[in-house]
Every structure is written in structure tokens, then in C-alpha cells.
């Protein structure tokens, strides 16, 4: 099976971003007709590796060999021309353009005499439709992408790869937002790519997917490849140990059950298009997990609690008293704090110093009960600001050269701690953390988990919105599962195994599983394989 020579080899790749050493020696080989699983935790360097392979970044050290020849991609187009195509984790698409234009952007078929060559729209739409039909997409190539779901966008990206005659296809967590039925269609597509002799690099942290479609694996940890081998000789425990470099139990702190009285009571929280009928309670000293696929409406519900999502109906009670939340100030005054998912866009201000980021909420925020006063009369007290920053840096063990360091100079994990510190400055009673460990390394994750444990030990209540199943399973006292805007299940800690929770989130627990338009075309996904080679 390993007779064919490698199509693409990576030798000792290194990449640094300022103080961060993102990749420190990656070796791997891709063979035509085989799928290689690239496994690693968030922050292990997988996305950086993809960017090196697709020409978005250039490596600082090491070689990329295609057919044994060393390559340096000047830009993304050069990588595509060499036949390396990536399907990205978060689809990178042009919303205002049609599916066909997204498939052919930068290489539209042209017609007409030299000097007056124009885009051949008819041919482009026709060929795009063929590529879309091959992957079993049930929509027209002329549909604007903004009207399509996440799953449908993934199909467009795969169609793009197919129409480019790709020799290497990189699938970067392509199933993160797909339902279970869609994932099975997706396996068929991967098998089809393999049978055409394409080398597939499959990046995911879902083990069932790896075992279903991959032939070999490489494990990445802290930016270096730490193990590789044939899939059929591996088992899950082995891979987990390689990925984490330690046992899972050591990563998660023990959070004892010290729940107090009901703090927050939510009844019938609804939004016209985003979520409907959410009912839950949050106790003092509790971690309440919100699990679901990407786009299940969890963040939208949290934004609603913070008064950031207009058009919401329902009843929210704090300490048994009805709480009117019309704008963020109402929520903050009541003692709610929200640490958003997109740290850089919604959370921290990168050019500001650590100190100014930490004092921001306490300064600008409304006069909450526990709000620390940073001003003396009408003037800002620099001393008080410094003291708050110093206490937070110590309490959260933020690694930085000093309170004056700009936030942009900190690593991802420490940036996240600063954003959390900002809200702790308001002395909140309820902290909502939205994907708090997204894109940070294992060490930083551990620190964030420790911090969460400390917060609840001090009597705070935490809502943990996360797409990382182990995170909610180990930390949360209770986990609410959302699917397509609905609250579909609730599990107490230790009550359910991973399969049951994932099944609830992706709609496989029987009953009225919602199906998207995409899954209706399930058969087409399997039928496409033979014609492609022709």
C-alpha cells in the first residue's frame, strides 16, 4: 500500500510570529490516494501548518517538497497552481458573489479576442454546476453565497478543489458545523478524492472521523510532530496521550459540587429567527455548560442575556426578581459579564496596554454594585488603575513584561486572561465565557480552566459556552445541548457519555431530527465517484 512515493513531504518546518514559536519542527509525508490525519489540540499549530502549505505564510526554516522538488510559494496562487488546495475550517467565501464565482474566483474561464478577453459566464456557470453536482449539492451555481448554510458553503469549497484538478486537498476541520448525516455524505466525498489519486490531509479532532476515512496519522503537539503511524495499528487512547502529552485528568481541575441557591432563572427566552423557548436556571457556584455545533444559536442566546440582541422575548429573573435587560448597561449593573468568543474583534483592544485593557470595563461600564471606582472625583486615578491591573495580573497569573505592555505583545492564552480580567474588575456575579479556550495552547487552557474553578469556588456562577466536548464534560456541573436554536437536551456531569451528547447536538438521537436542505441530496454524494476520473 505504501509503494507509491510521497507526493508532498515536509521536512523540519519552523514558523515564528514575534515571541510565539508556532511551529517547531514538523515532518510529514502525503501519498497519492491516501488520507493522512493531522491530529492535535487547538493551538498545536495545525492552522499555521495549513497556511504554510497554501502559501499564505512562508516557513522560517525547513523544506516543502512536491514530487521530491523543494518548493517556495510566493503566494496563495502559486500553491494552487502547484495543485495544493485547502478547504478551510471557517469558510473563507465572498458572500456577495455567486457560488460559481466563488468556485472560479481568480481563474474564471475567459473568451474573446486578445486584449478584449471577457469572462465566459455561461461556461463558468455550467462548469461550476457540474462540480457542485458531483459533490451532491442541491442548489444552483448562480445562488449568492450569502443565502447558503455553512454546510452548503463547505460543498462549494470542495467543488472548488475538484474543479482545480487538485493533487493535494487539505481538509481543515471541515465537519465542525455539519450534522451527523452530512458528515457521512462527507466521508463519501473523501473516499472519492482518494480513489482519484488525490493526497488528502485531513485535520480534525474527532476520532471517529479519523478512523473512518484516514490511512495514516501524524500527531502535532506544541508545534512539533510527536508521532506518526498507520491508522489500523493505532487506538484512541494512544492518540489522545500523544496529543495531550499528559493524561486528560491532569488538564482539568476538579470542580467540587458546591452549588448554592438559584441565582438566575430564564424562562421562554426566544428570538424570531435565532432561538426559541430557552428555559434554564443557574445556581450560585455552578458551571453551566452550553454545548452544540457551531451556529447552534448558543452565542446568540448569550448576547440576548447581555442586552446585545434586539427583538428578544422571555422572562429573566435574578434572585427571584424580574430583570429588564434592554441594553448591556442593564445586564452589567445586575452583575452579568460576558467574555466574547472572538477575542480580538469583540474582546481586547490590541494596541492598548494590558493595564488599560483591564481597567476598560470598570472605567467605561455603568456603576454596578461591586464596581471598583477608578476615579477620584471627575479625574481618573492612575494609582487605582495601576493597582487594579497589578492585582489582576497576579490573580490570573498573566505572563507579560509589565502592565504597560501592549496587549498585542502577549500570547493568545494571556490575551484571553486579560479579557477575562477586564470583566472581573466589575466584580460580577455571573460570568459568561464564550469559547474561552479557542485557539490557545494546552498550557494556557489549563490556566483558564483553573481560573474558572477558582471563580466558582468564590461563589460566582459561570456559563461556559463551548464546542469542545471534553471541556464541558469535565468542567460543567450541568450541560445544556442546543441544536438549531432549540434546547434539545440537558445532562448532569457524569450522566452521559460523549456519544450521547454529540448525538443530541447533531440530531441523531432519533425523534424529530431537523434536516437541512443539504442532507436531502445524500445519494448524490456517493454516486459521483466513478465519473470524476474520466
Amino acid at each position: 500500500m505504501n509503494a507509491s512515493p510521497p507526493l508532498l513531504s515536509l521536512r523540519g518546518l519552523h514558523k515564528r510570529f514575534g515571541p510565539t514559536h508556532a511551529l517547531r519542527g514538523v515532518d510529514l509525508e502525503l501519498v497519492p490516494g491516501q488520507a493522512l490525519a493531522l491530529i492535535g489540540e487547538n493551538g498545536a499549530g495545525k492552522s499555521t501548518l495549513v497556511k504554510l502549505l497554501t502559501g499564505v505564510y512562508a516557513p522560517d526554516e525547513g523544506q516543502i517538497l512536491l514530487d521530491g522538488q523543494p518548493l517556495r510559494f510566493a503566494n496563495a496562487q502559486a500553491a494552487q497552481a502547484a495543485g495544493i488546495v485547502a478547504v478551510h475550517q471557517e469558510t473563507v467565501m465572498f458572500d456577495e458573489l455567486s457560488a460559481a464565482e466563488n468556485i472560479f474566483i481568480g481563474r474564471q474561464p475567459m473568451k474573446g479576442p486578445r486584449g478584449f478577453r471577457v469572462i465566459d459566464w455561461a461556461r463558468m456557470n455550467r462548469e461550476a454546476q457540474q462540480a457542485l453536482d458531483q459533490v451532491g449539492a442541491g442548489f444552483a451555481a448562480t445562488t449568492p453565497v450569502r443565502q447558503l448554510s455553512l454546510a452548503q458553503r463547505h460543498l462549494i469549497e470542495i467543488a472548488r478543489a475538484l474543479s482545480q484538478q487538485a493533487r493535494v486537498v487539505i481538509l481543515d476541520e471541515p465537519t465542525a458545523a455539519l450534522s451527523q448525516a452530512e458528515i457521512r455524505d462527507f466521508y463519501g466525498i473523501v473516499q472519492g478524492l482518494k480513489s482519484r489519486g488525490v493526497a488528502v490531509l485531513f485535520i480534525t479532532h474527532k476520532f471517529d472521523e479519523i478512523f473512518a476515512v484516514c490511512d495514516r496519522y501524524v500527531v502535532l503537539r506544541d508545534g512539533a510532530s510527536v508521532g506518526s503511524g498507520a491508522m489500523d495499528k493505532a487506538n484512541e487512547q494512544q492518540l489522545v496521550a500523544l496529543m495531550a502529552g499528559r493524561k486528560i485528568e491532569d488538564i482539568y481541575p476538579h470542580v467540587p459540587d458546591q452549588r448554592g441557591e438559584v441565582l438566575l432563572q430564564v424562562r421562554g427566552l426566544s428570538h424570531p429567527t435565532e432561538f426559541d423557548g430557552l428555559d434554564f436556571e443557574l445556581h450560585r457556584g455552578e458551571i453551566l455548560g452550553f454545548y452544540g455545533l457551531v451556529g447552534a444559536g448558543r452565542s446568540e442566546a448569550m448576547l440576548a442575556l447581555m442586552g446585545l440582541n434586539p427583538g428578544v422575548t422571555g422572562n429573566v429573573k435574578l434572585d427571584g426578581k424580574t430583570l429588564k435587560i434592554n441594553e448591556p448597561a442593564d445586564a452589567i449593573c445586575a452583575g452579568l459579564a460576558y467574555v466574547p468568543e472572538e477575542r480580538q474583534r469583540q474582546g481586547g483592544i490590541l494596541p492598548f496596554s494590558v493595564m488599560h485593557n483591564i481597567s476598560l470595563a470598570a472605567l467605561a461600564g455603568p456603576r454596578a454594585a461591586g464596581n471598583e471606582r477608578l476615579s477620584r472625583g471627575p479625574w481618573l486615578s492612575h494609582a487605582r488603575e495601576q493597582s487594579l491591573a497589578a492585582r489582576m495580573i497576579e490573580r490570573l497569573r498573566i505572563k507579560c513584561a509589565g502592565a504597560e505592555t501592549p496587549l498585542s505583545g502577549l500570547s493568545g492564552g494571556n490575551q484571553q486572561k486579560v479579557v477575562i480580567a477586564k470583566w472581573l474588575g466589575l466584580n460580577p456575579r455571573i460570568v459568561i465565557l464564550d469559547e474561552p479556550t479557542k485557539g490557545i495552547d494546552v498550557g494556557a487552557k489549563q490556566a483558564v480552566y483553573q481560573l474558572i474553578a477558582e471563580m466558582v469556588a468564590q461563589g460566582l456562577a459561570v456559563i461556559l459556552v463551548s464546542s469542545e466536548l471534553p471541556e464541558v464534560m469535565h468542567l460543567a456541573h450541568r450541560t445544556i445541548v442546543m441544536r438549531r436554536g432549540l434546547q434539545v437536551a440537558e445532562f448532569a456531569r457524569g450522566e452521559a457519555d460523549a456519544e450521547a451528547i454529540v448525538a443530541a447536538a447533531s440530531g441523531l438521537d432519533g425523534g424529530n431530527a431537523p434536516r437541512q436542505a443539504l442532507s436531502a441530496s445524500a445519494h448524490a454524494g456517493k454516486a459521483y465517484t466513478p465519473e470524476l476520473a474520466a
Partner: protein
């Protein structure tokens, strides 16, 4: 116009209806407003604005803005007027080429500063807005080039009539057609939409982002340069404060026409309607005898009102997470 009518969107339809309502309302009070003669006057007055709007639109599509357009117009106009005074034998094609080259160069300076130093377009073009204005003073020594000193061919061009229509209108139509062709039929045009809509995705897709941004600013400059020659000819004068502040009218026309300041959205049809809207409002106010002191204020208020109306209709669609009857129906059809 028949061609573009096929692509007319609902938004453009509404704008067209508003323009028609304004025109008819004014016409009821002053029937002279609805004559062909007046329509041609408005079209003629709007021609230079239309050319400038085409350039500005290309830049807006890339998430940029060209605040230096009016300064570029004035500087190019002044340089052409000086050249015309110095060499009275210059033929018209040479004058047009001179305007195009100077304008394109001034635009390219914006492009280089923005792409090579990764500077924000608003800062760069605000800088060149002042710099180009200052350069006019340096070039002319602060003097006016008045009617009798302007090259006869520069003065003659805006007064020509070709095939029964004013030359200005023909030139504007040419600029509109060229822009429409670029945006619809050329890769470069589609890529302007792409990189304005999602800059990081554009990099991933291998679009030469900096080259395309350069193209947009250079073309904006080129259109501004040609407009400079036409402006000087039409008003028979060149001086330092020529068309000062006009860039705001240009941007307003784009925004009224539905070109998004946030990039990636906009159509030639919409932009042309935006120009017509401003032309009709500006043409209507004197006709219904609004005092000139009020005219500017009213024109501004009307522009703000229509922009606000647009912003509402362009508000981002809500995320559809819950299942709806609509999606269920689609699934049924696909099966």
C-alpha cells in the same frame, strides 16, 4: 440603458421611483422642469459627477475611499490649463491624454502609499487632498487662469454636440460603459468585489490584492483627471479652490446609489441613479424658487435622508438558525 435595465434590482427600482416622484412633483409646480431641454441640462450638469462617481465607486468597492478626487480634478485641470496657455498648438487628443496621465499618476500615488506602507486609505487620501490642493497654488502662483487664457479646445469640448447629444454626456456614458464592462466582464472587476467583501478570503484565493487596489486608485485618479479638463473647459476658469469639497458630493452620490462604504457591494446602475438623484435635486431647487441660502441645506438634508433610508434597507440580514417553513420547503424540493 436597456442593457442595465435588465439587471435593475429592487433597491434601484425604489431609487428610480423616488427620482420620478421628485421630478413630477417639481414639474407640477413648474412645468418647465419636465421639458426635454431641462432634462438635457440636468444630464449635462451631472455628467462630470457621473465620471467621478465611477472612479470613486471602484475605490469604495475595495473598502477604501478616495477623498483626493476633487483635489486631483483641480490640480489636473490647472496643469492642463497652464499647458494649454503655454502651448496654444496642442491638439485635443494630446490635452485629453495629458489629463488622463496626470490624473492616473496622482491616483497611483494614493495606491502606492496605501499598498506599500499598509496605510489606511482615509488617511492617505486626506493627506493627498491637501497636498494636491497645495500643489495647485505652487503651479499657478495663486493666480487665476481666466476665460481668455484657457485653450480654445478645452473650452470647446464641453460645448460640442455629437449626434444630437452634448459631448459631456457622451463622455459620461463612455465612462459608465467602461466601468460596467470592467465590473461585469473582467476578472479584475470581479476581484474588486471579492477583496472588498472579504479581504482575508481574497488572500487565500490568491487574488493579487495590492495590484487590484492599485488599479482602483489609479482608475479613480484617471477619471478625476479627465473630469478636471472637462470642469475647466465647462466653467472656463482654473484656480486654487476649484471644485473644493466636491469629493463629498461624489461620495454622497455613491452612497445614495447603494455603493457600500464597507466595501464589496455596489452596482453601476445604482451609482448612476445616485448621480441622477443629486442632479434632479440640485436642478429642482432653483426651479421652485428656493432661496440659494436654503438650497445647500435642503440638498444636504435630502441626501442624509436618502442615505438613512438606504442604511435601513441594507441592514444585515438576521441569522436564520431556527428552522422555518421556508427551509423545510426547500428541502422537499431538493429531494
Amino acid at each position: 440603458m436597456k442593457h442595465t435595465a435588465a439587471f435593475i434590482s429592487r433597491r434601484d427600482g425604489v431609487l428610480l421611483a423616488i427620482i420620478a416622484v421628485v421630478a413630477i412633483a417639481v414639474g407640477l409646480r413648474a412645468p418647465v422642469f419636465l421639458t426635454l431641454r431641462n432634462a438635457l441640462d440636468i444630464a449635462n450638469d451631472s455628467a462630470i459627477l457621473a465620471i467621478l462617481v465611477m472612479g470613486q465607486m471602484l475605490v469604495l468597492l475595495t473598502r477604501g475611499v478616495d477623498l483626493s478626487a476633487a483635489s486631483n480634478l483641480a490640480l489636473t485641470g490647472m496643469l492642463c490649463a497652464l499647458a494649454g496657455r503655454a502651448w496654444p498648438g496642442l491638439p485635443l487628443p494630446a490635452l485629453l491624454a495629458l489629463a488622463a496621465v496626470i490624473g492616473a499618476l496622482l491616483g497611483a500615488v494614493n495606491g502606492v502609499l496605501i499598498t506599500a506602507f499598509s496605510l489606511p486609505p482615509i488617511v492617505v487620501t486626506l493627506g493627498t487632498l491637501s497636498a494636491y490642493r497645495g500643489a495647485i497654488f505652487l503651479a499657478s502662483g495663486g493666480a487665476w487662469i481666466s476665460d481668455h487664457q484657457i485653450h480654445p479646445l478645452i473650452k470647446g469640448l464641453p460645448r460640442e454636440t455629437w449626434l444630437g447629444l452634448p459631448a459631456l454626456l457622451w463622455l459620461a456614458l463612455l465612462a459608465v460603459a467602461a466601468t460596467a464592462w470592467l465590473l461585469r466582464w473582467r476578472r479584475e472587476g470581479r476581484e474588486l468585489y471579492a477583496l472588498g467583501g472579504n479581504p482575508s478570503a481574497a488572500t487565500y484565493a490568491g487574488i493579487p490584492v495590492n495590484r487590484r487596489v492599485m488599479t482602483a486608485y489609479t482608475l479613480s485618479g484617471l477619471f478625476a483627471g479627465i473630469s478636471g479638463l472637462l470642469w475647466v473647459g465647462r466653467y472656463s476658469i482654473a484656480f486654487t479652490e476649484l471644485a473644493a469639497g466636491y469629493e463629498l458630493t461624489v461620495i454622497a452620490a455613491c452612497v445614495i446609489g447603494g455603493v457600500s462604504i464597507a466595501g464589496g457591494i455596489g452596482s453601476v446602475t445604482g451609482a448612476v441613479l445616485g448621480v441622477l438623484f443629486i442632479g434632479v435635486v440640485n436642478g429642482a431647487l432653483p426651479v421652485i424658487q428656493v432661496s440659494p441660502f436654503w438650497q445647500q441645506a435642503i440638498a444636504g438634508a435630502v441626501i442624509l435622508f436618502s442615505v438613512a433610508l438606504n442604511a435601513r434597507s441594507q441592514a444585515r440580514g438576521v441569522r436564520q438558525i431556527l428552522e422555518t417553513k421556508h427551509t423545510a420547503v426547500t428541502a422537499g424540493v431538493a429531494a
